[in-house]
């Protein structure tokens, strides 16, 4: 057994944990950071950058979104069902956090939107050699923050999972961790900050707390290692529970991220129906993946279909796709035929170089149907045939005129005609869990009855309930933004607590 001692112990070194560690150390606290994997950055390594409001980039780019406006947007979006004090503090801090990060050597490309209707809050990190947004640019941040933390004397222990939070008389006294060689470590401290990133990779907890069967009606990201460590440890020492949600989106299992052209083509604003063969969504908004995901999970068996015909495919061949995303940047249908053939050959797993990225459930999913008639298409996909035929007929009749039901923008009304017809089956997906540990706006962990547990703080995804029931994509960069800013707040507040009269040895 090894003994250690510090003012603050931070559990996990993702974006929120690193922010907490740096913020605490900047207040001259001694900090120990335990991370269970071999490197830092956590899920933020996959991201591209945080939300901020009022940064100098936004000023330079003439973005006139104020904190007041952003606050209003978020509170309207959530119908004030979230902690308004926390939201306000988060947004207030977010602009300065950009400069705080720049002080560590992180450069940003500027402020970006995620899709047309969203606000320009997404501050994308600049990666080596390029002025283009790059996937995984978030990993650049991990290094800079780690360097800063160590520069401030934070002791970083990798491959060292924390197993237990230690308390005495309801007060935090330390943690028990396990070193890479299996050695037990007891780290005594005045404050513990939990920052473990939720439980996106724990199907059992997803089932229990969110109510979905991963691989059946949910295909969310499974970032390895994000298994709910922090939540379970917090609950074990009496932390209260909050409702847990997921940043819900949608995907076409086995196709999304594997067959990029197929995937992007079935995510265009074309006719969508449910198993009953009826429309349920204004498809114009399909690029708001959150809204689309929400609409899909309300349908029978939590699935929905995009219906296409060769008429649509030919249109895209000539004119390019309607919606092009920054992530995949697929503009044309050059690879439609080759990807379709590979997919239909049934050997879809072994032929595509990216197929290995999928979990077994996704690999085995059958998500794209092709038929010579709508009847056959309906039969294959299990959609009500009569309704589908009626719906398509009705839809085609509206094309060139007006969508008399949802009033979709007429430029997205493309008639669906053969010879071949296609149906792509979408399911809810998402990024991970949100929330679980009850906190106040000082990031202090509370019991169910609302009493603060002395010395226990939590931040990031483990506590993020400020989006309400749906992820707030209209203010993009929100998850990483909340992680960094809540981490920063937890770090600062924990030291303020140690320095305050409330603190008892």
């Amino acid at each position: 057994m090894k003994k250690m001692e510090a003012d603050v112990v931070v559990i996990a070194g993702g974006a929120s944990g690193l922010a907490a560690a740096v913020a605490a150390a900047e207040k001259d606290a001694s900090v120990i950071l335990f991370e269970k994997s071999s490197t830092t950055g956590g899920a933020a390594n996959m991201g591209m950058g945080p939300l901020a409001v009022g940064s100098h980039y936004q000023k330079d780019q003439m973005v006139d979104l104020t904190v007041d406006q952003a606050f209003r947007v978020l509170m309207d979006y959530t119908h004030w069902r979230v902690d308004a004090r926390l939201v306000r503090k988060y947004l207030d801090l977010s602009g300065s956090t950009i400069e705080w990060l720049e002080g560590m050597g992180i450069e940003f490309l500027g402020a970006f939107k995620y899709f047309a209707q969203s606000h320009q809050t997404w501050h994308i990190v600049k990666a080596f050699g390029s002025n283009k947004p790059a996937e995984r640019a978030g990993s650049v941040m991990a290094k800079a923050m780690t360097d800063r933390a160590e520069e401030l004397g934070v002791e970083l222990y990798l491959q060292t999972p924390v197993k237990k939070i230690l308390t005495e008389n309801g007060k935090v006294t330390g943690v028990m961790a396990q070193g890479p060689d299996g050695e037990e470590i007891i780290a005594e401290c005045s404050c513990v900050i939990i920052a473990t990133g939720g439980f996106g990779d724990n199907p059992k907890m997803i089932k229990e707390y969110i109510g979905y069967d991963w691989g059946k009606d949910l295909f969310s990201f499974r970032i390895p290692g994000v298994v709910g460590d922090g939540l379970n440890m917090a609950w074990e020492v009496g932390a209260g529970k909050t409702e847990v949600t997921m940043e819900m989106t949608f995907e076409t299992p086995g196709i999304t991220n594997v067959y990029k052209t197929l995937s992007e083509t079935v995510r265009q604003p074309n006719l969508m129906v449910n198993l009953e063969g009826k429309r349920f969504y204004n498809e114009e908004f399909i690029n708001n993946t959150v809204f689309t995901g929400n609409a899909i999970c309300r349908q029978t068996q939590r699935c929905g279909f995009t219906i296409l015909g060769d008429s649509v495919i030919d249109h895209y061949r000539k004119n390019g796709l309607d919606y092009v995303t920054m992530h995949h940047n697929i503009k044309n249908l050059d690879k439609w035929d080759s990807e379709l053939n590979t997919y239909l050959s049934g050997d879809r797993v072994s032929d595509d170089p990216l197929a290995g990225l999928q979990q077994e459930e996704q690999k085995n999913a059958h998500s794209l149907y092709v038929a010579d008639s709508l009847e056959d298409l309906a039969a294959q996909a299990g959609i009500d045939a009569k309704n589908l035929i009626d719906t398509v007929e009705e839809y085609n009749a509206m094309c060139g005129k007006q969508d008399t039901f949802f009033n979709k923008n007429p430029k997205y009304l493309l008639p669906i005609k053969g010879p071949k017809y296609y149906a792509a089956k979408h399911f809810p997906a998402g990024y991970g869990s949100l929330g679980g540990i009850k906190i106040n706006d000082n990031m202090q962990v509370l019991t169910d009855s609302g009493k603060a547990i002395p010395g226990l703080y939590a931040c990031g995804t483990d506590v993020c309930t400020i989006f309400g029931d749906s992820y707030c994509f209209i203010l993009p960069g929100n998850t990483m933004g909340f992680a960094l800013n809540s981490g920063r707040m937890a770090g600062m507040n924990s030291i303020d607590y140690i320095d305050s009269d409330d603190f008892v040895e």
């Binding site: 490197t39 950055g41 990666a127 050699g129 283009k132 299996g182 290995g356």
Partner: protein
């Protein structure tokens, strides 16, 4: 070792002559990024990430291929170097998937860490989608998701330079380069030795073990050898299998003896969970570990382990009593004696060995084998008192012992509660087996029905065969494909003429006070156990039938033969209640181990439990509780495996078994074991999973002091 003085980034560093600049820097805790370099491999200088600038040398050089020289002045961080590294990493990432979230090595990936360190992400370069990387990438043990491969060539080098198997190479097709085998053969056909070195050394998630190969609960070093990981006693199986292959039988026995005092008995009857876990079973069939163990012991002529094994610590003056001379009690007694305590074992039967002597029939485990192994324990100063029943552990403790171990096993058979079950010629399996073993009279008829489907039921059936009874039926609840007994037991019993009736639940006995005439049972579709362990049946209505029998044996479970007078708290089924951490009962100084605490299990479990008890009792008595031993010194393992044609297809060597006709009429041993040629070949089938543990781990940037 000659020292060389160099300067790295203005720091004076003392390097060893002949070292590379990279190694010298890393040894001094100065990080230089590197991917294709690995401390165990010949440097290739290919990835270019380890470039450094050296005073007097015009262009940047790869530090992994540059030897240190006296007075060298080296810079590892300049703008020029950052550019070279950045572009090199960008080029590698151009063909690497853009999404890491579903990669199982997320956050444990050297490439991902490199992206962090160098600040590089996917960006300005064209995406390269390589088409040929998936050729023949499937095999039963190694996941090869080659879209993640960055062609650093570490796997190629470890396979050729260290293992000398050399099946991997850079292949070229349609203008693309990928890592594959000669002619793109599947790994099996390419004669891969499946040692896993390529997996161990891969910096990305491209090469991985098939999910579920290793336990996630054990420490990595142990988990990597599933045989050893699953052995309850933790025997170092890969080591002794290798020694058998080398003809060093005595050394092999030494390795086994480090963990258990009944190597030969277990060589006959161990339930070998190691073989179930053996990675080789995914290729064709597991290594015959049990037969190799037996072969080693039977051919151990030198006993070179004996001197070390006979060592005892100085007497402590403490007295320990062990109740029960079965595998748990005797194992514990041995290690306690070695720790210097005075140990007396009390056995209620006239013989020693417990179930090994009165439960397991002689044709499976010859009695002299057990006797010899017990004799060794007695030689170590353990006193064994037979024919001495202990009625109260508490009284025994109070009679002058510092500690007592209850290791009484489960010697009380259980009959299903039904009418006529207390009639004559209705026995429990133990009554029957023990009487036979102890050569006691027992009245049997001509038609025997045995109720139960585990190994004990078959022990009864096959013992009855050897007693000359012709009509023997085993009535078993489980269906044919889910029987509890070992497959070889079932097959050999059938060869000997035993009839098995599957999927039948016994509902009553037929007959009268004057004698049993049959067993009544009903067909069962399905059964399960309720929350309280209560059997729940889905019986076929109207399917009752009767098996004629004049003798019935219940092989339906056993429990410890204890009652409340024994002086310790008992759980359900008479099991002794213990603290699972210390094996101590509710009475201070009284411990329990083996079947008596967890119900009927197998010999190896009893041995493991006995070891734990010895350690805990030693601690209780003031010792350090350390009973680990090294009876054979570990020589450096030969890292080389070499290529063997047809390695994957090598068939398991089966032991020679007596013909049914000749074995039926006697209790002599059925399994004749392996001969030397077979044993050598069988040991050669081992994949040597433990070799990869020796490959050094690569540290990530965050682990270095100067980075």
């Amino acid at each position: 070792m000659q020292k060389v003085n160099i300067t790295i980034n203005d720091m004076k560093v003392e390097a060893k002559a002949g070292q590379t600049v990279l190694q010298a820097a890393l040894d001094a805790d100065i990080y230089i990024p590197h991917l294709c370099a690995h401390p165990d491999l010949t440097p290739q200088g290919g990835c270019k990430l380890c470039v450094v600038e050296i005073n007097g040398v015009e262009s940047a050089v790869t530090s992994c291929t540059t030897e240190v020289e006296e007075g060298m002045v080296i810079r590892t961080k300049t703008d020029n170097l950052s550019r070279i590294r950045g572009v090199a990493l960008e080029l590698m990432l151009a063909s690497h998937p853009g999404d890491c979230t579903s990669c199982p090595v997320y956050l444990n990936c050297e490439l991902q860490a490199m992206m962090q360190y160098l600040g590089v992400a996917h960006s300005r370069l064209r995406r390269i989608e390589k088409k040929n990387i998936r050729i023949n990438s499937k095999n039963p043990l190694i996941v090869r998701e080659m879209e993640r491969c960055i062609q650093c060539g570490r796997c190629i080098r470890v396979c050729s330079d260290i293992r000398e198997v050399g099946i991997l190479k850079y292949n070229q097709k349609d203008g693309e380069i990928y890592v594959g085998t000669e002619n793109d053969l599947p790994f099996r056909e390419a004669d891969c030795r499946f040692c896993g070195a390529c997996i161990e050394i891969c910096p990305t998630g491209a090469l991985r073990d098939v999910e579920g190969t290793f336990s996630k609960d054990s420490p990595r070093e142990i988990a990597l050898t599933p045989c050893r990981d699953t052995c309850p006693a933790g025997t170092d199986i890969p080591k002794y299998v290798r020694l058998v292959g080398e003809g060093k039988y005595s050394e092999a026995v030494g390795i086994i003896r480090e963990k258990l005092p009944f190597p030969l008995s277990l060589g006959y009857v161990c339930n070998h969970t190691c073989e179930t876990a053996c990675k080789r079973s995914k290729l064709n069939s597991p290594v015959g570990i049990r037969s190799l163990k037996r072969f080693a012991v039977e051919n151990d002529l030198d006993g070179i382990w004996k001197d070390k094994a006979m060592k005892k610590q100085a007497p402590t003056g403490k007295k320990v009593a062990v109740i029960g001379a079965g595998p748990a009690g005797l194992t514990s007694a041995l290690y306690l004696a070695k720790k210097g305590h005075a140990v007396t074992v009390y056995e209620k039967l006239p013989v020693v060995g417990g179930m090994m002597t009165v439960g397991i029939p002689e044709y499976r485990l010859p009695r002299e084998v057990v006797k010899a192994e017990v004799a060794f324990i007695e030689n170590m100063g353990v006193e064994i008192v037979t024919d001495k029943k202990i009625d109260s552990a508490l009284e025994l403790k109070n009679s002058g012992y510092d500690a007592v171990l209850i290791a009484v096993g489960t010697h009380k058979g259980r009959k299903l509660s039904m009418n006529l079950s207390d009639q004559k010629q209705v026995y429990t399996a133990l009554e029957f087996l023990a009487s036979t073993s102890l050569k006691k009279e027992i009245t049997l008829g001509n038609k025997i029905a045995i109720i139960g489907g585990g190994n004990v039921a078959f022990d009864c059936a096959r013992t009855a065969v050897r007693l000359g009874i012709k009509n023997i039926t085993v009535i078993c609840l489980e269906p044919k494909d889910a029987m509890l007994a070992d497959e070889e037991e079932v097959i050999q019993a059938q060869e000997e003429g035993v009839i098995i009736k599957n999927s039948k639940s016994t509902i009553g006995l037929e007959g009268s006070e004057s004698g049993i005439t049959g067993v009544k049972h009903i067909d069962v579709n399905n059964f399960s156990f309720g929350p309280d362990g209560q059997l729940q049946l889905d019986a076929v209505e109207g399917s009752e039938s009767i098996t004629e029998a004049d003798t019935v044996i219940f092989a339906a479970g056993q429990m410890p033969d204890l009652d409340e007078n024994f002086g310790v708290e008992l759980n359900r089924g008479n099991r002794v209640a213990v603290n699972p951490e210390t094996l101590e009962t509710d009475k201070t100084g009284i411990f329990a181990a083996g079947d008596a605490i967890y119900g009927t299990k197998v010999v190896i479990e009893a041995v493991a439990s006995g070891r734990k008890a010895a350690s805990e009792i030693d601690k209780y008595l003031g010792g350090d509780g350390n009973i680990s031993e090294e009876l054979v010194s570990r020589s450096v393992m030969d890292k080389k495996l070499g290529k063997i044609a047809g390695f994957s297809e090598q068939k398991r060597e089966e032991t020679e078994v007596l013909e049914a006709q000749s074995r039926k009429c006697s209790f002599s041993k059925v399994d004749l074991g392996l001969d030397e040629n077979k044993a050598c070949r069988e040991a050669g089938r081992c994949l040597q999973c433990d070799l990869r543990i020796d490959l050094r781990k690569v540290k990530f940037w965050a682990d270095y002091k100067y980075k």
